[in-house]
């Protein structure tokens, strides 16, 4: 009997073995030239970085491991933590039990965090690479005087579909409601983006403070519930890549990542319009290693680092050095940088009053619980 158990154990261990080997690949953790000056006077300190999941070039598939490169260059140790939505990040910061030195929220969340004194003003004399940021992405509504944030990525929400499963070329969000795709449609598992789709179809302001507008959108979303396969965030990758779902609303940058794995996927910016967002790097008011944080922001703007991130994440970059770089493979990517940018109707999210936020969150829960 013992023999049988040990045989099972041995096989179990053997099965796990290859996994542990595969993680030992060489890491690409250095950049060849730096534009700004980085010294090692903060060596040995720790920098707490709070970022979205899958939102930095991390050394997978021989890409640059940005955090490792920063550690190697400056001797500062990075403690890297991730979140999956602005709201999760906000809740955690608000709980006061944590302190981070770097955080990368989206526009409307930056607006709210500035209002609530959760961010500190940056010292731009320490961010010499800031001149690389495209003027288009300066003076944006959430930080009009460019005091609190440095743009990291720009993105839009797209309608993604599998051309072998969808027999038309969709141009409207309406297709998500089409009964012939019942059980094949994926919706965001996040209230703001989820509502956006219905708001665009209803033609109401994404930032409406009129509850009736939200009710209207909610009615539409209720009608969508039965047609959905589910509400997903990161699961969208395996759903669409594996051909398990036909239609999904998701971020255009992530579409390119999926397209790499499944060439049948296509995307479109629906005619009703879509959300555009800018995720920017900020330093929280209660940051402890403020100087290292400035160094990190400056490092993220370095041409080589920004290029690695832009290639890895497939989001549109606000960094002009990347756009001008011949090595950048996505420069001509129609999806990221539409040639006729005016043809795509876009709208930013703004921070909304507590009352409206509570209202639509409740509606969202009701819709999901139908």
């Amino acid at each position: 009997m013992k023999k049988v158990i040990s045989v099972i154990l041995v096989f179990a261990m053997l099965a796990v073995l290859p996994l542990s080997f595969s993680s030992c690949k060489a890491i690409n953790d250095s950049i060849s030239e730096v534009r700004a000056a980085f010294d090692r006077h903060l060596e040995g300190t720790t920098l707490n970085v709070y970022n979205w999941g899958e939102y930095i070039s991390d050394g997978m598939d021989e890409t640059l491991d940005v955090n490792a490169a920063f550690e190697k260059l400056t001797g500062i140790k990075i403690n890297y933590v991730t979140y999956d939505s602005n709201e999760v990040m906000y809740s955690k910061m608000k709980s006061g039990s944590v302190s981070y030195d770097i955080v990368i929220p989206s526009d409307y969340m930056i607006e709210r965090m500035i209002k609530e004194n959760m961010l500190q003003k940056l010292d731009f004399s320490k961010i010499s690479n800031y001149d690389l940021i495209d003027a288009k992405y300066k003076d944006l509504y959430f930080d009009e005087k460019n005091e609190y944030s440095v743009p990291y990525n720009v993105g839009m929400v797209a309608l993604i579909y599998n051309k072998t499963m969808v027999n038309t070329t969709p141009d409207s969000w309406e297709i998500m409601w089409d009964p012939q795709y019942k059980g094949k449609v994926l919706q965001f598992d996040n209230s703001r983006d989820g509502f956006m789709i219905a708001q665009m179809l209803e033609g109401v302001d994404l930032n409406s403070t009129d509850k009736a507008d939200w009710d209207k959108a909610a009615d539409r979303l209720r009608a969508l519930h039965d047609n959905l396969k589910g509400y997903v965030m990161d699961d969208v990758f395996q759903e669409m890549e594996g051909g398990n779902a036909a239609i999904a609303a998701y971020y255009a940058g992530d579409y390119l990542t999926m397209k790499d794995k499944n060439d049948d996927l296509e995307m479109v910016y629906p005619k009703e319009g879509t959300n555009i967002f800018v995720d920017s790097i900020c330093i929280p008011a209660n940051a402890k290693n403020v100087e290292a944080a400035h160094m990190y922001i400056n490092f993220m703007l370095e041409p080589e680092v920004a290029l690695a991130n832009a290639e890895y994440l497939c989001y549109a970059t606000p960094n002009t050095s990347v756009l001008e770089n011949e090595e950048y493979s996505l420069a001509d990517c129609e999806e990221l940088y539409p040639k006729n940018a005016d043809a795509v109707k876009t709208e930013y999210y703004h921070d909304l009053p507590d009352e409206i936020r509570t209202y639509y969150e409740k509606l969202w829960l009701q819709i999901k619980g139908e």
Partner: protein
């Protein structure tokens, strides 16, 4: 207090040896001291990680930094139809999952207790084997297996059956619960079954019981304590489940556990912590009452595992 604890091991060990050789009554006293000593880490652990967190839950259910004491958070659980609906679903799904587990586990445990000891051990290892892997991974694997292009649908495709939607249905959620918690049903029933005295069964046969009567009159009553334990151990984690429902229903089924998670994860700053704590408290009380009632069915006084 700490002094006596520190003194314990060094001074009492030789004393204990002497006692063992000489007087019997004193041994008992050393035993109680030793027991207390051995229990100390457990007591400290329980206080730090069970009692104190529970007090926090209690505190946040009623107090909020701005409003002070309020029963509003408890009230909202009962007055908000959305929450009641999610709770109703949780109760329904967990009852179904428990019944299915029982139906699978009971005959399994019965036959398991009858095979040779070597085979019993092997099968126990096989039951425990999946539990060596993290529950999140196991649930995620099911998500993959049940996919529209997953293993099962590919297999059905071989026989010309068109793809079936499993994910996103209540059935998938219940399957996830049953799969994850089934071992907790099998183990106590099996333990109770293997404790049944063989001669009792033989006696029942001698007295003219047929197979069914033997099961109903002898085996079932003697294994009841195991059944009650199993039912509680499957029902309790099922009713407060959250991750399984999200992965197996792709967000289409919202259970009370999901709502509690969302409250704390997403709405922390807007009273979510208080609402989450209050909902957890109500849920705990309901589970406690349910457990108490179930325990009534078991007339053994050994008190069934919570």
């Amino acid at each position: 207090m700490p002094e006596s604890v520190n003194k314990g091991p060094s001074s009492s060990a030789p004393a204990g040896e002497k006692i063992r050789k000489t007087a019997k009554p004193k041994k008992k006293k050393a035993g109680t001291f030793g027991t207390a000593l051995a229990n100390t880490p457990f007591v400290v652990w329980s206080a730090a990680f069970i009692i104190i967190p529970l007090l926090f839950v209690l505190y946040y259910s009623f107090f909020d930094p701005e409003k002070g004491f309020s029963i509003e958070y408890i009230k909202v659980f009962f007055t908000e139809p959305m929450y009641m609906k999610a709770f109703g679903l949780s109760a329904l799904y967990s009852v179904i999952a428990t019944l299915i587990s029982l139906v699978i586990a009971y005959p399994f445990a019965y036959f398991l207790s009858k095979v040779s000891p070597a085979s019993q051990r092997l099968q126990m290892v096989l039951i425990m084997l999946p539990m060596w892997m993290n529950m999140l991974l196991r649930t995620y694997s099911w998500n993959q297996i049940l996919q529209d292009n997953g293993l099962i649908n590919k297999l059905l495709g071989v026989f010309g059956i068109s793809s079936v939607h499993f994910l996103g249905t209540p059935g998938a959620v219940i399957l996830g619960m049953v799969y994850n918690y089934l071992p907790y049903m099998i183990l106590p029933i099996y333990t109770a079954m293997s404790k049944i005295d063989r001669p009792l069964l033989e006696a029942s046969e001698d007295l003219g019981c047929n197979g069914f009567q033997k099961l109903r009159r002898v085996i079932f009553p003697l294994s009841l304590s195991g059944v009650i334990s199993g039912v509680i151990m499957v029902f309790v984690p099922s009713i407060s489940t959250f991750y399984i429902s999200q992965k197996m229903s792709l967000g289409k089924v919202t259970l009370i556990g999901d709502i509690i998670e969302q409250q704390i994860k997403l709405h922390y700053a807007e009273g979510g912590l208080n609402r989450g704590a209050a909902m957890s408290l109500v849920l705990m009380i309901i589970i406690l009452i349910a457990t108490f009632i179930m325990n009534r069915f078991s007339d053994e006084d050994e008190g069934v595992l919570m």
